[in-house]
């Protein structure tokens, strides 16, 4: 029985399929998605570009000012701080989510009994609306009333509580912790899916050759997880750098702008401060990240050819 799991070139596969080219049906089927993407993604995206080169304010017509918004942003301390925050936040959390998600995936893979409920429960942090779990976390990190500091001091681990939300370093750690808490299940479940797809006989064959345990892990598991890893890394990078709720609810960008991300700063400038031209310019700084990540992914995907 012919399956599509063996790598083949795109073109070869196309010609191998029975059936003629059918662009009409294809485009009819694609029409809704194309409409959606053009009108609700491409158009606002374009509008974003347009706004960013004007001095538009809410309710007022704007005039073209070229790259002034971008230059002003770059000259602005708060913006530069935000840029730094966003990069730090994204790099640290994505790496940790991947690193911590894998052991959980392996553990979930290996349990014998209670698989389904355990997997469901493990997913909880990701499944719960962030706007609500963030509020719970804010309470947890509260220096005076939060359970976390209480636990740390009551158990004798620390003399005083940790200044979670009042010191830039700790505030960053706090919001990163929340992001990682939320993201691990997603990485874990994706890795799990990847693990489940690895055929058992590969491990058995390796065992016969005398390679068990760690070597099998390095030589078989990790390489075969690579496609999953890349997809999830990419998605997570994009979603993390544009994170909003956690910061908005827990720190509002502070203390002293140390946890502002592009999204929260854009909201502050554009909606609270009504300068939507500048806000659009802030948001667009996410775009280079997107482009670079997409570039990496595409290079890898096109090599693999049949993921798309």
């Amino acid at each position: 029985m012919k399956t599509d799991t063996a790598p083949q070139s795109l073109k070869a596969r196309r010609t191998a399929v029975g059936g003629k080219r059918d662009p009409k049906t294809a485009w009819i089927m694609l029409a809704p998605i194309v409409a959606l993407l053009i009108l609700l993604i491409a158009y606002p995206f374009g509008l974003s570009f347009y706004l960013s080169v004007t001095d538009r304010q809410i309710g007022m017509p704007g005039k073209f000012i070229g790259l002034e918004n971008f230059l002003d942003n770059w000259a602005d301390d708060v913006f530069r701080q935000t840029f730094f925050n966003s990069v730090l936040y994204t790099v640290v959390t994505v790496i940790l989510k991947a690193a911590l998600g894998l052991p959980l995936a392996l553990a979930l893979y290996h349990v014998r009994r209670g698989q389904a409920p355990l997997r469901a429960v493990a997913l909880l942090p990701w499944v719960v609306p962030t706007s609500l779990s963030a509020i719970a976390w804010w309470w947890i990190f509260s220096p005076a009333f939060g359970p976390l500091n209480w636990l740390l001091t009551a158990s004798g681990l620390l003399a005083g509580g940790i200044p979670w939300l009042s010191e830039p370093m700790w505030a960053r750690i706090a919001v990163m912790l929340i992001n990682i808490w939320r993201g691990i299940p997603f990485f874990a479940i994706s890795f799990l899916a990847g693990l489940v797809a690895i055929p058992r006989d590969m491990y058995e064959a390796a065992a016969i050759d005398g390679a068990g345990g760690w070597r099998a892990f390095w030589r078989i598991t990790l390489p075969l997880l690579r496609p999953v890893l890349l997809i999830v890394l990419l998605y997570s990078t994009v979603m993390t750098i544009s994170d909003f709720e956690i910061i908005f609810i827990v720190t509002r960008g502070g203390p002293m702008n140390s946890t502002h991300l592009f999204g929260t700063l854009a909201f502050q400038v554009g909606l609270a401060g009504s300068q939507i031209g500048r806000a659009a310019a802030i948001g667009l700084f996410i775009f280079p990240v997107l482009a670079v990540s997409a570039g990496f992914m595409l290079r890898d995907i096109l090599r693999r050819e049949d993921v798309l």
């Binding site: 409409a35 009108l39 609700l40 001095d55 304010q57 809410i58 309710g59 007022m60 002034e68 002003d72 000259a75 602005d76 301390d77 708060v78 509260s142 220096p143 005076a144 009333f145 200044p163 979670w164 939300l165 009042s166 010191e167 505030a171 720190t251 509002r252 960008g253 502070g254 203390p255 002293m256 702008n257 502050q268 400038v269 554009g270 909606l271 609270a272 401060g273 009504s274 300068q275 939507i276 500048r278």
Partner: protein, 429 residues
């Protein structure tokens, strides 16, 4: 979901789906319908009272009317949508500098303002500053929440200070008391950093030392000896406060006061009001006192709410009338009562309401002995000032100095730069 009739939009070149599904009701020329968008008040009784008044007005005028409530956090997004689309409620709450931001879209209400002034006495400085723009009223000041000191009286009495001592309290005396209070384990505390709770203390502090951020022409004048004096004072006060105030948001001081962990914070009377609402015995211990005076004056910060009628409304005159109605003395007084006294007025006659004098905890709050003014005064109340407030330029710079990250001079310079960038690039009016 709206139960109003939908109209099929024929909008060429726009989304088919949206065109079929979207729609704002367009009523045939029958009964006019007015919508008031109000903030969801923390006291449900206030929401109810407002709904009642709007309904009563509607019946009187034989029209339809309703109130839509929104959360304060969403106000900016909602107003942005309203202004951009030129559709929405006929009359809405406006917060802080919104009248200045959206002046071009608001109906001039000079007639209503003059009527109310004739009946109820002069408007306060705050009201005029925010709503009377270039000589014309673009919004009617509705109520504001000032930021007096909220104290746990018993903590102060332990260090020898009585309630009435606050009438003549200066920042210096305050500092001495703060030291004692810290020793007693019940310090003073207010947010220092990225929150409005912080700016509503730091701006009055600055003003009381004679400092200003920008003058009436919008020129940045923060670089002054007076401003440095104010910041130096903060540097003396800061060590007497818990360090966590650097990360405090709007509700942290509320929680700390309710738990009696602190002796003083600056806040609207909401802490007391909610405690009363929830039958929390702490309420009886909370008193409201004037902000201490500085060498160059005595000021109190405020969070101002006004009512604006939008130009796109087909019933602007009716909307103006609704505004007049809720501003009537009896109606206004009912709202004050429903808010447990936290709604504070802008008109002399409204301020003569005995409500505050009759509640011991509120006796020193209204009428205010300080000059009550919003952050940003006296700069032109427009986009530049608004943005500088939402960016927390001043509180963040002061926080950097207080936490030791910047010297006083560097912090002032940092703030000046931040303000200048904003005032250069953002329209003044």
């Amino acid at each position: 979901m709206r139960t109003t009739r939908r109209q099929f939009l024929k909008t060429a070149g726009t989304i088919g789906a949206g065109a079929l599904l979207g729609g704002r009701a367009v009523r045939a020329a029958t009964t006019p319908s007015i919508v008031l968008m109000a903030e969801d008040h923390f006291a449900p009784a206030h929401n109810e009272e407002l709904k009642k008044q709007v309904a009563a007005w509607a019946q009187m005028r034989k029209v339809e009317a309703r109130v839509d409530f929104i959360a304060s956090r969403q106000a900016s997004a909602r107003l942005a949508a309203i202004v951009e689309s030129r559709t929405g409620p006929d009359v809405t709450y406006l917060w802080r500098f919104d009248p200045g931001l959206y002046r071009a879209h608001l109906v001039q209400v000079d007639d209503v303002a003059k009527d109310l002034e004739t009946k109820y006495g002069p408007w306060t400085d705050v009201g005029q500053y925010l709503c009377r723009l270039e000589g014309h009223w673009h919004a009617i000041p509705f109520y504001h929440l000032t930021y007096p000191g909220n104290i746990i009286l018993s903590h102060w009495e332990k260090v020898g200070i009585k309630l009435d001592d606050f009438k003549t309290m200066t920042w210096q005396k305050f500092l001495e008391a703060a030291k004692e209070l810290k020793k007693a384990g019940t310090p003073v505390a207010f947010a220092v950093g990225q929150d409005f709770d912080s700016s509503e203390v730091l701006y009055p502090l600055l003003y009381s030392y004679g400092g200003r951020v920008a003058n009436e022409q919008g020129k940045i004048v923060l670089d002054s000896a007076e401003a440095r004096a104010a910041l130096n004072y903060l540097l003396q006060l800061f060590p007497e406060m818990p360090r966590e105030v650097l990360g405090w948001g709007g509700a942290d001081n509320n929680a700390a006061l309710l738990a009696r962990k602190i002796a003083w914070t600056a806040n609207p009377a909401t802490i007391y009001a909610v405690a009363k609402m929830q039958n929390n015995p702490v309420a009886d211990s909370i008193y409201h006192v004037p902000i201490p005076s500085g060498p160059k004056g005595r000021f109190r910060g405020t969070f101002a709410i006004s009512l604006g009628v939008w130009k796109f409304s087909p019933h602007a005159d009716l909307a103006k009338d609704l505004v007049r109605y809720v501003m009537q003395e009896e109606n206004y007084a009912k709202l004050v009562a429903a808010s447990y006294g936290s709604n504070e007025p802008y008109l002399k006659k409204h301020a003569e309401n005995p409500y505050w004098q009759q509640v011991p905890n509120l006796r020193l709050m209204e009428p205010a002995v300080e000059k009550v003014l919003p952050d940003g005064w006296p700069a032109p109340p427009g986009p530049a000032t608004a943005l500088s407030i939402t960016q927390f330029v001043l509180p963040v710079a002061f926080a950097k100095a207080a936490s030791g990250r910047l010297s006083v001079d560097a912090a002032i310079k940092d703030a000046v730069e931040g303000f200048q960038k904003i005032y250069e690039k953002t329209p003044l009016r």
